[in-house]
Symmetry: C2
DNA sequence: TAGATTGTTAATCGATTAACAATC
DNA sequence: TAGATTGTTAATCGATTAACAATC
């Protein structure tokens, strides 16, 4: 049903559709029109229909979309049914929060190991994981070929070096919290959370109002 | 020097320019051309010049841009010199991490109080803040008119109710970590961190490769 | 001055919106 | 059937890229 590559602007709207469909489904709603979805999401009805039709015709003319059907389709498109085995590197405060983050497993990621370089942290337990030495990273990945994703919650300074080691060891995706633009070969997917960039954007708009 | 409203796509590139300018300045670099900045950031030289010219002509023909000048200009544009007094609501694990986050003060935000609704947390110390009861929110804001920004690290369920109270009490900006689309009147700036949306995007691209 | 690089206008590209025929 | 709403094509809008005159 897919026709060529779907643009990233479209992809980044999908999670929002999915969020509202979960809500509608929980509320027991049966059907939804692009018009109603437009009122919820703030996107135009036209755009919503265009977006969804990148992946197939999920609606019925004259009726709209079945909530359960659309939700299930989005689940498949977003790859939620596939559980990606994930390791976390940097078991500091942020790492600990992420590790305990519920949305994580709901989105199809399962943490199977944690690593840190700090002797004081290695061996301690976070969630249900014993923190390992980052020195064991390569051996662990050799022994656990099912690991495909890494979360990086290390300081800016070490981030690229760790990313290089992960790539070398065969990682396929990185969820990066380090405030650094990681270099990775084509095919390795890097998804960044840039807290500072977000803050500076907030600062811009706050300041703009006073200018 | 500003000509009308600058589009959000432009604004969201500014923090990245700023990041690289800090780095260049730290390294002692004196000048940079749009071409060199293009190689660093991945944006085209043409786009960089267009972006910067929304705010003024900061370069010199035949020479390029002075690193120190451009960095200072971006600092002003992003509103970094203005320190916004900030309160944090939701002193759980994530709240604690955010509170200790260094980039926070560097970006021009200073946490002056923390609130939580959990009796077991109220009264405890996080960083240099004693956690207050969220019941005191309105009184605190009345007594501290200098507070302009709030960070929301509460569960999804309570987020909108807290946002409403903050708006009523005169807040101007919200940095929102709750996975919920907050309703706020025009003029109140809401900047969202959507961890789950980011994860689902990663999931999409990982899954796409296998399709 | 000659060479380099900006600032800015014009051309292109892609994304959004509008419109409507298809059809449930 | 008549009414409603999709799927899809065409029109519009905005963002990016290319080109080049201005000028340091």
């Amino acid at each position: 049903m897919r026709k060529g590559k779907v643009s990233e602007t479209v992809i980044r709207r999908l999670p929002k559709y999915y969020r509202y469909l979960i809500e509608l489904d929980d509320r027991g709603e049966d059907r939804i029109s692009s018009q109603e979805l437009s009122e919820l999401t703030g996107f135009t009805a036209s755009q919503i229909r265009q977006d969804l039709n990148n992946f197939g015709g999920f609606g019925q003319q004259g009726y709209g979309y079945k909530v359960a059907v659309l939700k299930a389709e989005l689940e498949n498109i977003l790859g939620i049914p596939t559980i990606y085995k994930t390791i976390l590197i940097g078991a500091g405060r942020l790492g600990t929060v992420i590790c305990n983050y519920k949305g994580f497993l709901d989105s199809g990621f399962e943490i199977v190991a944690m690593f840190d370089r700090d002797e004081r942290v290695i061996g301690s337990t976070v969630g249900n994981q014993v923190v390992r030495s980052v020195d064991e990273l390569e051996q662990f990945m050799k022994d656990h070929e099912e690991v495909e994703v890494a979360i990086l919650t290390v300081p800016k300074e070490g981030a690229q070096a760790i990313a290089d080691r992960l790539v070398e060891a065969g990682i396929r995706g990185i969820w990066n919290f380090a405030p650094e633009d990681l270099e990775a070969p084509e095919g390795v997917i890097v998804e960044n959370i840039r807290l500072t960039d977000s803050l500076l954007t907030l600062s811009y708009y706050l300041t703009e109002r006073d200018r």
